[in-house]
Subunit: 259 residues, 2 copies
Amino acid sequence: MRTLIVHAHPEPDSLNGSLTDVAVSALTAAGHEVRVSDLYAMNWKAVVDAGDYGPHASHPLRVVGDSARAFDAGTLSADVAAEQEKLAWAQLIVFQFPLWWYSMPAILKGWVDRVFTAHFAYGVGEHSATRYGERYGEGTLAGRKALLSVTIGGPRDHYTARGINGPIEDLLFPIQHGILYYPGIESLPPFVTYGADRMTPDRHAEVVAAWRERLRTVDSTAPIPFRRQNFGDYAIPSLQLKPGLEPEGRTGFGLHVRA
Amino acid sequence: MRTLIVHAHPEPDSLNGSLTDVAVSALTAAGHEVRVSDLYAMNWKAVVDAGDYGPHASHPLRVVGDSARAFDAGTLSADVAAEQEKLAWAQLIVFQFPLWWYSMPAILKGWVDRVFTAHFAYGVGEHSATRYGERYGEGTLAGRKALLSVTIGGPRDHYTARGINGPIEDLLFPIQHGILYYPGIESLPPFVTYGADRMTPDRHAEVVAAWRERLRTVDSTAPIPFRRQNFGDYAIPSLQLKPGLEPEGRTGFGLHVRA
């Protein structure tokens, strides 16, 4: 499988660094083609600004419209265009990052903000009585899979259904559903490493072994079954889940996962 | 009230720009002291790196430990120290930003990642049989209030309890609970402007009037009643919500809001 690894950690000699190293070697040894976007090493510019849109930056700047016209005309900045090319090439995208303040590090959010432009990742497809654009299961990046590998300082208990930080699947919902599924990318269940700030050599070896196993079985792992937008589960155009479809007793983000 | 406005939008001539202008004038006219951190105008560095920690950056870099020692020694980089001073000064913090990919723009996430260092915003307080540090309702920034003003391109329906994007209160939970409540800041109900990409002059005038009204009543508005960590609702140290406390029929993030 053609695999893009997007790596977001400032220190190569770190747990995150070691997990990306393992992914590169394991996937390559298994015959996959692997490319890496190491955002810190690339000195990735994290903030959207007029420089992204070349001659299509308007005054005043309008992010949605300007990014759409720059994408259509092929005048996005070279760094953004290069990442879009990698995404178009990839069949699997692995994201390796630490959970900082319950979300991605800013450099990775800035990769999303800048690379997922209008017409590349959103703002496509027909609007009609039965369709609300191509998104959430359809879209420009459909057919691809993603796998988040997330390191977390705290213990697993704090991220369970009743844990104080909120369930990890809900904390990752804005990424796996809102960012990735929106343009059609399906997420495999995430690989989450807890206790990252208290890693012993033995525990590190266990984590690496588990990560190798997850990567070995990536082809045969079923993705998270988010509901598709245009196939009957949602009213159009309100995009509210139709009555009776919710899993028993579930509210919030969990409504949007098929039972 | 001493108010800090943290503004995160690349274009001053924008809906976000106008809402910050309104906030400055309305709060100033009402006798509040107002300071603004306009992150784009400040050319705010969005990414955590060794430069943040001065002589306390270790090799290899260790973000948690290095930031704690740099904070304790007063050697954090000047831009980070200046923002910490503003937060220490403020009684109210207003965040003005567009929802990009269901979260904050990268430049604002980078403000959090860099400014909310160890010992300034986390890693404080006693761990015992009845306490798990000072966080979630206690903490270094307790006594302060926050108010998110968020602009969203899409319509309100898509962000309701059954809407496809997930409920707006859940999308904002990692910010209002995970980032702000963690060091003790209470969030007032957010001011959310939908349909931001299709703003007419009449609609803009309505939004501005509603925003002025929210700001006028900021002193008398009750914050979101998140549960405090160390006061009996959670088992220690698992930090799981004790049985029977959940609001009827609620799962996910909503467990952590008192009924």
